[in-house]
């Protein structure tokens, strides 16, 4: 449809077939043919040496909605039982950054939905919100898809924000798609980076990616939201735009955006939204909200994470990992392989389908480093990898790599940990 091969230019070199992540290009003799698996990711367009593949999407004139009617950035300020979830505070700071990129008069508003939640505004203002819309109703005490979708959709229709962002929590990922579908607008899931200005996107891409940005104009006035996310189990990064509909909506992975330093005594505009909601609007009944009695694993806030993988050989290996974590003041993490093997609970899982983490130190013990695991931890400040296999991909991202038996190495680290100052002093002394 939109990705087309220009038959006269195609030389049958098959480079596009090799670079296509989706097996969406077949060879018909010496001619590349795009098949129905094509997702228009444009990898082939970029890699074709003969410029024989074209993206014709831009050529089609679309019916435009009046984009200029939409203004300001909204952040869904998720609360549970009257407490804000962490990602809400991360996102008001991020929303503030985006609003300022769009223009000096563009504001970031937190959207609080619940029953008696107005006490939460002070934290939202401290972490960057210029204002807050509050929607309160006793029917909104517990989260329900129906109730929250209705009041949020009605508010968006009324106030017309340009951007709406949500934390990619189990609630955000339930609510956002429903709202986007009702508004017939686009939604991008699990973003790890957001940009408005083309120049910011170029800066980000040049510093962090292999993307060739030479075709992007840093002086461009175009200010659509550029939403970057891992896809394909973290094997591919895609930047998604929503050019024709508003609002532009994203969910953002918890723990990825940094909170701003809280502004003491910050205040903001408060708008109470009165939107109709009756019991018959809600088609489910929340019988009970059960808090896990298990130890709460706070991987996203941890400064040190000690993770174990398949190399532990069995569930008892996590006893050593726990001892290690206790010694270094860290939290126990795991790979998907260890969770799938039933050795440890899913709540410990780090990776694309688990939790995204960025601790100061990440110890990967017996973890080979599948892409989907790397996608969830490679922004850690320091990565230490301990693995028997010298060819394990985890070593490619590790700041410190130790090839060896983790059952020998980890106890040595535990034993030496409290003497680190002395070991370092002796080392410095010996160097001098």
């Amino acid at each position: 449809m939109a990705i087309v091969v220009i038959n006269e230019k195609c030389i049958g070199c098959k480079i596009c077939v090799k670079v296509c992540p989706f097996e969406a290009i077949d060879m018909d003799g010496k001619l590349a043919v795009i098949n129905e698996k094509c997702t228009s990711c444009k990898q082939c367009v970029a890699k074709c040496p003969k410029e024989a593949i074209e993206d014709t999407t831009a050529d089609v004139v679309q019916e435009e909605t009046d984009l200029s009617a939409y203004k300001h950035v909204w952040v869904y300020a998720e609360q549970r039982a009257g407490k804000l979830v962490n990602v809400a505070l991360e996102l008001v700071g991020e929303g503030r950054r985006l609003a300022r990129e769009i223009g000096p008069d563009v504001k970031v508003y937190a959207i609080l939905i619940g029953d008696k939640v107005d006490h939460l505004t002070s934290d939202l203002f401290a972490y960057g919100a210029d204002g807050a819309y509050i929607i309160e109703n006793d029917l909104l005490k517990n989260y329900t898809t129906d109730g929250y979708t209705k009041v949020l959709t009605d508010s968006i229709r009324k106030y017309k924000p340009e951007i709406v962002i949500f934390g990619a929590t189990h609630i955000g990922r339930d609510l956002a798609p429903r709202v986007a579908a009702r508004l017939n607008t686009g939604l991008t899931a699990d973003c790890t980076r957001l940009d408005v200005k083309v120049s910011s996107y170029i800066d980000y891409a040049n510093k962090n990616t292999t993307l060739d940005t030479s075709d992007l104009d840093p002086n461009s006035e175009e200010k659509g939201l550029k939403q970057t996310r891992p896809a394909f189990g973290g094997n591919l990064m895609a930047t998604i735009v929503c050019p024709r509909t508003r609002p532009q909506m994203s969910t953002v992975r918890p723990g990825v955006m940094s909170k701003i330093d809280p502004i003491e005594g910050a205040t903001g505009e408060i708008i109470k939204v009165d939107t109709p909601l009756v019991a018959s609007d809600i088609h489910i009944e929340v019988l009970e909200v059960v808090k896990s009695t298990k130890e709460i694993v706070s991987l996203t806030d941890a400064e040190i994470i000690c993770s174990g993988g398949r190399g532990l050989g069995g569930p008892s290996g996590f006893e050593l990992i726990k001892e290690f974590a206790d010694k270094v003041g860290g939290v126990v993490g795991s790979s998907r392989a260890a969770v799938d093997s039933g050795w440890i609970d899913h709540s410990h899982q780090v990776g694309q389908t688990g939790t995204t983490v960025k601790p100061k130190i990440y110890f990967a013990c017996g973890i080979s480093g599948a892409i989907q695991h790397l996608a969830g931890m490679q922004t850690s400040d320091i990565i230490v990898a301990i693995n028997k296999d010298p060819d394990a991909p985890i070593f490619e991202v590790a700041d410190f790599g130790i090839v060896g038996d983790l059952y020998e190495v980890v106890p040595q680290i535990i034993a030496a940990w409290d003497n680190a100052d002395k070991i370092y002093a002796d080392y410095v002394h010996a160097q001098a």
């Binding site: 449809m1 939109a2 228009s40 339930d174 899931a189 962090n208 735009v241 509909t245 130790i402 040595q412």
Partner: protein, 266 residues
């Protein structure tokens, strides 16, 4: 009253088996198997458990994808589903989640009669978790996502589910018809039996085009109708390899602590 269940499934590349070529930095996907998406297998398994209990239950598996996705439908039939429907058309290619949900909602309407729609929470190639809820919205049905426990009452209309949260779960009651999205904690999917594989050959599988579904390629499905587009895509940059610490394990441990101290990490 025989229960009618629709299961939404997707054929996906096993993303765990994909590696990046260290030289060309492109995805190496030779020999990467196409599989039934994990969460979708849990969705199907829960439907099959209902059928185990109430054998007159009729399970239709629907999917959108290329013609090869029929193989996955046959696998679902071999596990015990009754019928497979594939929505396949070049006009559906490039659909984002909004457009995909339009196509799947149209497929569900084509099936017509249903009590429960099960889907997987998300597919491992896109990881969006958006299509289930968006399809539910298009069909005007209530939804529960992240279902980890399921119970159907004797009246065959009242369902009680546990919905997983990061810090616990909710217990939710919902009436049919509804959309439920499954996560892997829900159950352990069965393997197809030899008898099931034989039986699957005789079960009906149909393919619908965009025209069969009555969806408009300019306005509802496909790349051009999709509100989101890919702006750029790229492979992630490796961090770059650091220092390998040599020696006996006690020496490695000491070198590590020295390194961490030097970086002021501890």
């Amino acid at each position: 009253m025989a229960l009618k269940i629709i299961v939404c499934a997707k054929q996906v590349p096993d993303t765990n088996e994909i590696k990046i070529d260290p030289v060309t930095k492109t995805l190496k996907r030779e020999g990467v198997p196409a599989i039934l998406n994990h969460d979708d297998a849990n969705a199907l398994e829960e439907a099959l458990r209902i059928k185990d209990k109430y054998p007159d239950t009729y399970i239709t598996v629907i999917t959108m994808g290329p013609p090869q996705a029929v193989d996955m439908l046959r696998q679902c039939l071999a596990m015990g589903a009754d019928e497979g429907i594939l929505a396949s058309d070049r006009a559906l290619g490039g659909s984002d989640t909004w457009a995909t949900s339009n196509a799947l909602a149209a497929t569900v309407r084509k099936v017509g009669d249903y009590d429960i729609i099960f889907a997987g929470r998300q597919a491992i190639d896109g990881d969006t978790a958006q299509v289930g809820p968006q399809m539910a919205e298009k069909l005007g049905l209530p939804q529960v996502t992240y279902v980890k426990q399921f119970e159907l009452a004797e009246d065959m209309q009242t369902i009680t589910v546990h919905r997983a949260l990061e810090d616990g779960h909710e217990i939710i009651r919902i009436k049919t018809p509804c959309v439920l999205t499954a996560i892997h904690q829900l159950n352990t999917p069965r393997l197809p039996s030899m008898k099931g594989i034989m039986a699957a050959r005789k079960k009906p599988v149909s393919t619908y085009s965009a025209a069969d579904l009555g969806v408009d390629p300019d306005k509802e499905v496909g790349l051009l109708a999709s509100p989101t587009n890919v702006y750029r895509s790229f492979t992630p940059v490796p961090r770059g390899k650091g220092t390998m610490l040599e020696g006996e394990s006690n020496e490695q441990a000491e070198k590590l602590l020295i390194g961490l101290k030097a970086k002021l990490a501890i």
